[in-house]
């Protein structure tokens, strides 16, 4: 399967997602635009179908193995294929009105990232020396964790937006009220909890892969001082804090929202660090901590 067969549908999906974002913005200004809602749903349906179809096609014709995520673009396709129907679900829930506006930029960004990962930075993971079961577990946990972190950050951004409106006393709409602060805080905590669990599993499985593949008895000094490890650890700590928001007065409200956004930034920075130091000795020593990507 040539890469253009992945890139072109991804570009179309990116455009569809960006259009849906523009329509969602217009609908926020005028909630009565029912036509916009239908077009948005069609576009999101198209994004879901495109991403799922390309992902399935890559599994069937590119990888020809039961290991579905063998490159970064696969993981991004998986996230997009899950996030697009999640946004569709959010749009159908009046309780979460407005959240799609904050989730759609994330979807567009992921798809755009997928286009880059497919067209310019395509590089399959080094899976030959790893235990396939652990790799499937690790990559799935990593990308699903990223999805949760993304949703949490979208909830956090919306929390800040709604709170600024409530504080400014302009958030009055009896017909189409935006999601309440309580709902958004619950969303942040739930996605953070799932993200925390998945990130923990990802880190743990990464460690297992590293130690098993290199038959290490202890982690080297380079591993401990690696920015990748520190960033991943920081993200993990942020989500550990977030799941305890309700029991601690210190992190309630805006601080929880900022933590959710900071968590996503740290996770993305970890991915960046993985990309940046991928071929350095640390990686050779402990390749696979992040799935070898």
């Amino acid at each position: 399967m040539p890469e253009s067969a992945t890139s072109i549908p991804l570009i179309l999906a990116t455009l569809a997602s960006a259009t849906a974002f523009v329509l969602a913005t217009q609908r926020l200004c005028d909630p009565q635009r029912s036509g916009h809602l239908l077009i948005m749903r069609l576009l999101l349906g198209a994004v879901t179908v495109i991403c799922a179809a390309v992902f399935a096609a890559r599994v069937a014709w590119v990888h020809q193995a039961w290991l579905p995520v063998q490159a970064h673009v696969d993981g991004l396709l998986l996230i997009a294929a899950l996030l697009a129907p999640a946004v569709l679900y959010v749009q159908a829930k009046p309780k979460l009105f407005g959240l799609s506006l904050f989730a759609l930029p994330l979807l567009t960004l992921i798809l755009l990232w997928g286009v880059c990962a497919s067209l310019w930075t395509y590089r399959p993971f080094r899976l030959d020396s790893f235990e396939p079961a652990w790799v499937v577990f690790h990559t799935s946990a990593t990308y699903l964790g990223l999805l949760m972190c993304g949703l949490g950050a979208a909830g956090g951004a919306m929390y800040l937006f709604v709170q600024s409106r409530v504080k400014a006393k302009t958030g009055f709409d009896q017909v189409n009220p935006m999601a309440s602060l309580e709902t958004l805080e619950t969303l942040i905590i739930r996605t953070a909890t799932l993200g925390f669990v998945l990130l923990t599993l990802s880190l743990a499985s990464g460690l297992i892969i590293v130690t098993q593949s290199h038959e290490l008895t202890s982690l080297g000094k380079a591993w401990w001082v690696s920015p990748k490890v520190w960033l991943a650890g920081s993200a993990w700590v942020v989500y550990a804090l977030l799941i305890n928001v309700r029991s601690s007065s210190l992190f309630r409200g805006r601080r929880a929202a900022w933590l959710a956004i900071a968590g996503l930034v740290l996770v993305l920075a970890t991915y960046g660090a993985v990309e940046a130091i991928g071929d350095e000795p640390l990686h050779a020593e402990s390749a696979g901590t992040e799935g070898g990507n």
Binding site: V166, K169, Q174, P177, M178, L181, E182, T186, L250, F251
Partner: protein
Amino acid sequence: MRLLMLGFNHRTAPLELREALAFDSDSAAAAIAELRSEHPACECVLLSTCNRTELYLARPIHDPPTIEQLRGFVAGRTGVAIETVESASIHREQEQAAAHLFRVSAGLDSMVLGEPQVLGQVKRAYESANDQGAVGPVLHRLFQGAITAGKQARNQTGIDQGRTSVSSVAVAFARNIFDHFGDKIVLAIGAGEMIKAALAPLLREDPKSLLLVNRTHQRAIDLANALGLTGEGHGARPWDDLDTLLIEADIIVSCTAASEPIITAGRFKPLLKKRRGRPLFMLDLAVPRDLDPAIGALRNVYLYNLDDLQRAVKATEDDRRELVEQCEDLLSTHVARCMGEIRHRDVGRLIKQLRQRLHAMAEEEQGRTARKLAALNGESTEENVQSLIEQHNHRLVNKILHLPLSQLDRSDPDATLGFYAAALRRLFDLQDQADMAADESDPGS
């Protein structure tokens, strides 16, 4: 009589100024008494609610007080600078004053279009002034007409149906913060009508607990009973528990008659830590305010006052424009009828006074002529009697015409000669041409 209205409302004065200009029942009574002592011929009613302070006054046409004097009176009573009073006040006279009261009564001038509370407030202001003996025939007719029209406008147009009330707006704002109310504690401070009205939609949301506190505990108990708050977790609590309740509550609604904030930032800040960051929605419906505005700046505290609600409901008014127009039509009919009756009554009294005065003149002249007739004794020839009758008629006509003609002669800038001349022509059925002919036949006059 001349009808005047001097007022300040939510459109002309910000909340802080309305607080300063507000009158409670005692100070309103004192103000009316003072005004009546200075101007005994005046009728007056003082309407003071959360959103407005309006003074309605009927006085003899050329008598004081003027609007400027009324502004000075309000400034003196409230301690607000006269310049501020002048810039924030509106004044209406005659039909416009009546139309304003009718609009207020129908809820068209309210912050929440068609809200029913204002009708009761108008009624109470009228009854209170009436108890003081400050209401005469003009304001009786005006206020009774306004109350009737207010009821009729609501019944016929349904302006009060589906309205965005203060309390429904409050619930909508609370929904921006809370997803559900089943686990929330609502605290109401005060036990008046506004609290009762504000709690009704909150009760429909079925909160976990609804607690009432009031300085007079018995009033809180009475309100709790009136609202049917007898279940577990609901009911009245002593005033001394207020600090504890401020920690427990998720929603606080306050509307008391206190002249100073009952919850200051200094009092509330130490309690905030004990709330462990839980969001708090506070609604201050009182004027003067019960809750220190500085509380609204605290973390996870969302404080709204009446002006905030006004901004929110204004947006919904556009949707009900048609109902407003129907109401306006109905009210204009009522205003015209009411003012017609007031004028008719005025003219009736005027005619009565005129008759009395003319009869008095006639009797005086009659007595004088009778004395002259008696003095004739044996000389009462037909000629003499005829002469006396002519003198009698001449004097009587001169006496009657003396005052109006002397008014015409005055070069008073306020007295428009043309107006008086037209009135005389109309009243005595005089024609312009006849005047001109008379002028020509008597050039020396």
